[in-house]
Amino acid sequence: MEIEGLFHIEDRQYVSKEEFHSYLAENYDPEAVPHHLTVLTGVTKYDSQQLERKLKEFGFEIHKRFGIVLQIKNVFKTEEMIEAYLLHDEKTGVVYIYTNYRKTEEIPKIQDFFEKDKDTYYLFIKPKLLRRITYKLIEEFEDIKILDFVARRVKDSKISARIRPSYERSISYWGDDGRDTLREMESYYGVLPNMVTFQITGMAKFKIDSRGLFTYFKGTKEGTELFLNIIDEVTNEARNLLNAYDRTRFEIISVNTDTKTFSIPISTPSSIVLENPLAYSEIDAFEKALDDAGYTTITSIAAEGSLFFSADLISDIGNRIRIKATKNKIKLYPDRDRNLHTFMKFYKFILEKVDSNAEIVL
């Protein structure tokens, strides 16, 4: 039985993301669907069974299964419902959610699921990557237009800006000349794109949002394929992130003497390399930014010369972490409640508040 509203897919047992995306590229018809397609991407440490359990706990029902594609439904209030297809690629840990539901207030509810659970997170797109994708598209498609964009600058960013470089800013632009304007804004105001809407005449119109949200407004089969390939480019990053996460550890190690055993708790951190060195003079602002982002400082110390900073914090979801910073590197040490949420959120925090070009070390 077709649920009204959610786009139709062929009733078969899809066995892989590749198969499902091939099917969509071939068959998804934007004209035949009541509203545009939004794809949300996230990452998770759960296996498919655990993920399903978590979805149910969050309030989603699994209405039907198409192999690894699940049709899910959630009723938030009696009138507001969202339906979507969900695909969990266990190989990569990426979760894709496809929906064409009208009410865009509902989409944040799905993001909520990604954000609230401790072993999932939405797959945000780091500024460097979004910028790279943007300029690659511009290079590949001569006639491509940027119809609107949002671009941001981190406070005291060292990305060059001709106008008042010390300011934190966000620019929202709408106009057919978005392509030129984006370049100008980057040059004058030192901003990096955060959300961009592209139009390739006769092929596709779509939007990429750094929160891991992709919107497909209209296009041909070629356009759909391009759209899905861009999603792939982003989700490939997920592998790196998950690898880095997998290398972090918290263990209680038994240290033995001749007749006794001592338990030593050891934490192995993830490391973020900064492109813009962090200075001792910036630590106050850094601590304030941590506070604003929901981290509670238990103790912190900072020493000058170049920089040594160490802080024990409680994360936004209540687990204890330690961070250490020297001028070029920030390390995040997990405690016994090591989880993906804390790892992803911290990296996102650094990208948004400290250094847009920071990279997780692999």
Binding site: P265, S267, K324
Partner: protein, 374 residues
């Protein structure tokens, strides 16, 4: 030799003197305010210094933790913070080192004293040699507690490179003058720890001019000497405990407050109740402190927290119950509670001392100005 004046009693008596009671009180409050505003910054700095010292300890420990070169390749294991501190609660005059490292195969123990700054090198050296003597006296006790025979003991002061010269010069002075006997087989060794590098480094410092023979600055284990002399990169991994027995009580107290908060997560925020036993369990748990006598230490650490917190109005006893307490600090979320705790602690701490000092000063002033009152 004069008798010791009981300023509290004198002050109370002064307050009874009808005509001047108002003046006495006013002056007392003034002096108290003055003292608090002078000492507030000093207290904050003292806590900061203490926290920095804790960090040096953590980084030094990491150099001897599983995953590190010293641990994996040479068998030097960090075993405990503050060896013998458990004895300081019952016995006078015990000074202890910050860390104890054991090589269980070689039966070699290294005791490390971490220093974040050197303001009085002479005193540091004297104190450290006292601590060395105490370690020797307690060798069998330590062997029993850590479960390993100890055939040799070495003693180290570990400090940032910027302070090494200052300390070493004083050591050289004392060794050249004979104040420290160069034939002493427990000559202090020096490690410098550089925390500003991306990957911190630990290095054995050997340029001590008063010592002609290499063995005087080197470790017994040539392998350890070689690795440390070349400067060893400290492993990425770090020991993740909460606090040390010698951490500043306020810093240590924060972790207890978090524990109380967690124990009462689903309760009425005005009724955050806990027992002495729960706090003792907290200190004993692996991951809170890292000490061979954590069970024993849990009692004085808990006692200290409870006493200070009662005195500063941070907690109160629950009526009719033995060893049950209620948190008086308000706040729905942990960040509010922690910041209120810090404020209450600093205020309580300063208030207690300021009261004592102001009482004394008031009495002294009034003795001078109005001796007829006495």
């Amino acid at each position: 030799m004069g008798h010791k004046i009981d300023y509290k009693r004198e002050f109370r008596a002064l307050l009874q003197s009808k005509p001047s009671a108002g003046d006495v009180k006013k002056r007392f409050e003034e002096l108290k305010e003055e003292y608090i505003s002078q000492k507030e910054e000093e207290l904050a700095k003292h806590i900061d210094d203490s926290n920095y010292h804790d960090k040096i300890m953590d980084v030094c420990i990491s150099a001897f933790s599983p995953g590190s070169i010293c641990y994996n390749n040479l068998g030097y294991e960090f075993i405990s913070t503050e060896p013998l501190i458990e004895r300081t609660y019952k016995e006078e005059g015990i000074k202890n080192f910050d860390l104890m490292i054991i090589n269980s195969e070689q039966k070699n123990a290294i005791f490390v004293e971490c220093k974040s700054s050197i303001s009085n090198p002479g005193k540091i050296i004297t104190d450290t040699y006292s601590a060395i003597e105490i370690c020797h006296k307690n060798k069998e006790y330590l062997e029993e507690r850590v479960g390993n025979k100890i055939n040799s003991m070495e003693f180290v002061i570990c400090l940032p490179p910027s302070h090494v010269d200052h300390l070493v010069r004083e050591i050289e002075k004392r060794e050249l003058s004979g104040k420290i006997d160069l034939k002493n087989d427990s000559l202090l060794k020096i490690w410098q720890i550089d925390m500003f590098k991306e990957e911190p480094r630990l290095q054995l410092f050997t340029r001590i001019k008063s010592r002609e023979k290499p063995f005087q600055t080197q470790h017994i284990d040539a392998g350890l000497t070689k690795i440390l002399a070349d400067s060893v990169e400290i492993t990425d991994s770090e020991i993740l405990i909460k606090t040390h027995p010698s951490s500043h009580p306020m810093t240590r107290g924060k972790w207890v407050i978090i524990e109380i908060f967690n124990l009462n997560k689903d309760c009425d925020p005005d009724e955050r109740i806990f027992t002495r036993y729960q706090i003792e369990q907290f200190f004993e748990a692996s991951g809170t402190i890292s000490h061979y006598a954590s069970e024993e230490l849990s009692k004085p650490l808990t006692e200290s927290f409870i006493n200070e917190s009662l005195a500063y109005g941070i907690i109160e006893k629950v009526e009719g119950e033995e060893d049950v307490y209620r948190l008086k600090i308000k706040g729905k979320k942990i960040d509010t509670i922690l910041s209120n705790y810090k404020r209450a602690y600093m205020k309580g701490y300063l208030d207690r001392i300021a009261t004592k000092v102001a009482m004394e000063k008031t009495v002294k002033e009034f003795r001078e100005k109005q001796p007829s009152l006495f």
